[in-house]
Structures are given as C-alpha cells and as structure tokens.
Chain length 241, copies 2
C-alpha cells in the first residue's frame, strides 16, 4: 500500500520564471488580486506598494476588460434561464460605482488605490458627473431590463448626490430604472453590508424577488436577504466594508 511513484511533468521555463524578479512581482500581485476578489483579504486599506504598476496595467489593459465581460456574460446567461413570474416582482439589483459607472479616471490620478481614500477629493470627482459606463454592465443592464426584470440601483452614494448621479447615469446610457436607492439620513453609521441588507429586506417585504445582484464589492453582495445569485465584478483598487 505504499504510494506508487507518480510522474508530474513540470511546465517548461518554470525555473527561469522564478529567477525573474519582474515575473515574481507579477505572480505575487496576481495572488494578492485573487485573494481580494475571493474576499480572503477582508478588510484591506490600500493596494500593496509593489503592485501599483501591476494594478495600473491590469485596469488599463485587456485583463480588466475581459474580466468585466466574463462576469456580465455569465450573469446574462443566468438571467436568461430565469422564468419570470410575470407579476412585475422579479428584480435585479445593480450597484453603481465600479459596477455601472467607472471612476477609473479618478483612480488613475490617485495611484490606482495606493493612496488612502480621500472622501473630499472623490466627492469632487463624483460631482463632475463625468463617469463613463462600464460597457459590459450597460449591456447586461439593457438585456436584463428587456427580459422584464425590475431594475433597482442600490448605491452607497448619499441622497444629496441624487441629481448628479441621475444625470451621470443618463449621460452614460442608463435609462428607465425603477428605483435609485441612495444612503439616507437613517442609514448614517451603517456599514455597506448593513445598509444594503436593510434595503434588500425592504424590497423583499414589498414582495420583490431579488433574482440577481451585480456589484464590485463583497459588501454589495453579502450580509442578509441575499439575491438568488450574485455576481462579483473585479475591483483591485479599493475595499468598502
């Protein structure tokens, strides 16, 4: 009963890869990014200093674009399999920042998440109302809408940004959502997990069936009163608890 020898061929170039410091940083930063995406690092404050170039290349390059596409495609495949009840109570929730709208131009000017989040500067950017759509999310949004889901936008942005947020969303191509839910005074002091769970609870109490939920933060998707399925978009730049 001794283990029989098992031969595993090693991939070529493995050794030379290990000796390559640039490759080593890429490996370590990829591992960090995957740990972020799987919610294994929770909480985290800023990206590792070594990974600024990596994150920059990731978000500006094809990887981020492909990741966004992969997730939205999968969400759409799922949405298309759902048999809607036809009573107008099947709902899909979308987060806004880094889900429907991209704040990449802001983060590009702030070292892609290396700087500790600056509320005041970020608000200034938000108030410009210039964020562009995340294209695969816009496509998903339109398709889910066409399928007949009620569309709820659930964001950590505060009520005083309702107008600029509405304008920005419309400018970016989002139309005819059923409700835009922002943080009100009564939500002050709640974590995002608490705030969003509370809002999902209210929707469920109104009778809505929350079928899908798309967000870039685990705090969009976890907690209580969960959607049937949730989809996590990539975001290696910041973490919201």
């Amino acid at each position: 009963m001794l283990p029989r020898p098992l031969i595993i061929e090693l991939p070529e170039n493995l050794e030379s890869r290990c000796d390559n410091p640039i490759e080593e940083v890429r490996l370590r930063c990829t591992s960090w990014r995957v740990a972020v995406e799987t919610n294994n690092l929770s909480p985290w404050k800023t990206i590792p200093e070594d990974c600024v170039d990596y994150v920059k290349e990731y978000v500006l390059g094809r990887s981020y674009a492909i990741d966004l596409e992969t997730v939205s495609n999968e969400a759409l495949k799922f949405a298309a399999t759902v048999e809607l009840k036809g009573d107008g109570m099947d709902a899909w929730i979308f987060d806004i920042d880094e889900t429907l709208l991209s704040n990449l131009p802001y983060y590009a000017q702030h070292h892609y998440g290396l700087e500790i989040f600056d509320n005041i500067l970020f608000d200034k950017w938000v108030l410009e109302g210039a964020a562009q759509a995340i294209e695969p999310s816009l496509k998903l949004y339109k398709e889910v809408q066409k399928l007949g889901f009620k569309i709820f936008l659930l964001t950590g942005r505060t009520e005083n940004k309702r107008k600029i947020t509405t304008n920005n969303l419309i400018m970016a191509g989002f139309e005819d959502w059923d409700r835009l839910i922002l943080r009100g005074k009564e939500d002050h002091g709640k974590t995002t997990v608490e705030f969003k769970s509370d809002k999902r609870k209210e929707l469920m109490e109104e009778g809505f069936r929350i079928v899908g939920n798309l967000g870039d933060q685990w705090s969009d998707l976890t907690g209580s009163y969960l959607s049937m399925r949730s989809f996590k978009l990539a975001n290696p730049m910041y973490f919201i608890p």
Copy 2:
C-alpha cells in the same frame, strides 16, 4: 459641466500583447479562473478545453503555491487576532480534499479537470491513501491548533473511507484533530452545501463557536450556520455543488 478630458497613460506593449494569441489564451483562462474563484461561475462541469495547459502550468507552477500560501497566511493572521474564550469551544473547520490533502497526482493523470469527474477512478486513488499534505494548510493547521482552537475536519468523503482517510492524514503530518466528520447514510442525497451546513448547525447546537473555515470549494463555505470568517483556497480543477 462637460467632462474635462482625463489622460490615462496606457501600459506599454498593450497592443503587442493583444496580437499575441498565446497571451490572449492566458488572459482568457486567467479570467475564467478568477470567475471560478469568485463563485461567479456556478456550477461548472469541466475546465475549458483551451485552458488545459494554463491550468496545468498554474497548479504545477509557482502561482498555485503562492496562492495557497497567501490564503493560509491571511487565515493565520486572522486566527491570531481572535481572543479565545478559554472554554474549549472555539473551533476551526478544515475541508480535506484540495484543502489539507492534495489530489494533484490524480488530476495530473486526468487532464487537470478537463475530463468529467469519474467517481470510481477517483475512489481508487483515494483508497491508495497516498495524498500529500498541502504544506501551507498543514502549517495553518498546526498553528491554529497551537492557538487552542478545536479542530474539526469536515469532508464530503463517505464513512466507508474513515480508516484510509485517517491513515492518509496522519501519514501527511496531520495530528490530534478533535473530530473527523464524514458523510453518513443520513446525508445521502444532500448537496455539499446542505450537508456541511447541517453539520455546522450541529456543532453550533453543541455550543461551538465556528471561528474559521478553510476550504477549496464555495460549497464548503456558504449555505447557513456560517463561520465568522471563511477562507477560499484555489481550485481551478473541479467544482462541487
């Protein structure tokens, strides 16, 4: 109020990368792997045919090793911050396959997850009792044990494999666990999520506080009666619902 132009420098070599078909496959397979790890693809049956070489290189190379290390280090950091009550009721759960023990030699002979799972062949491999420890998990196991946590091993393996599993674990360096929980007759027909949720429920009803949970499948970590924190190890080879 028009958006001001924002300049984002593109990373060098971006264009040449896109033109490189090998790089394109690597990008797509990485995206697939991250979608698996974030539970965005659920369920999935086999790895994409294009990704066999990618998965092979991943699991045999440094990436998988670094990913396993990253997660166990993070789990240990968390475990070390927990103040144990000292009543012997703080517990940590470990899954077994691809968490404590590696079945990589089996999957190396079965195209790294390209083949549809073959119960009979896999059982034959398990009954050899030759699986090696996943080293970062063994380190975490020992450290968590030293911190004073009760150790529960919760596996989808069935009761008839208790002896070989025990022997294999000991051979691989795991010692003095508090309970090894396998699938009994009463668990027949349950999904892993149901089976493991039921077992966590029983532990909690006994008064245990499940502080941490380490597994390679989302079905180890989701459902009900969740641990305070859970840690998802990488597994791009198979999916268990």
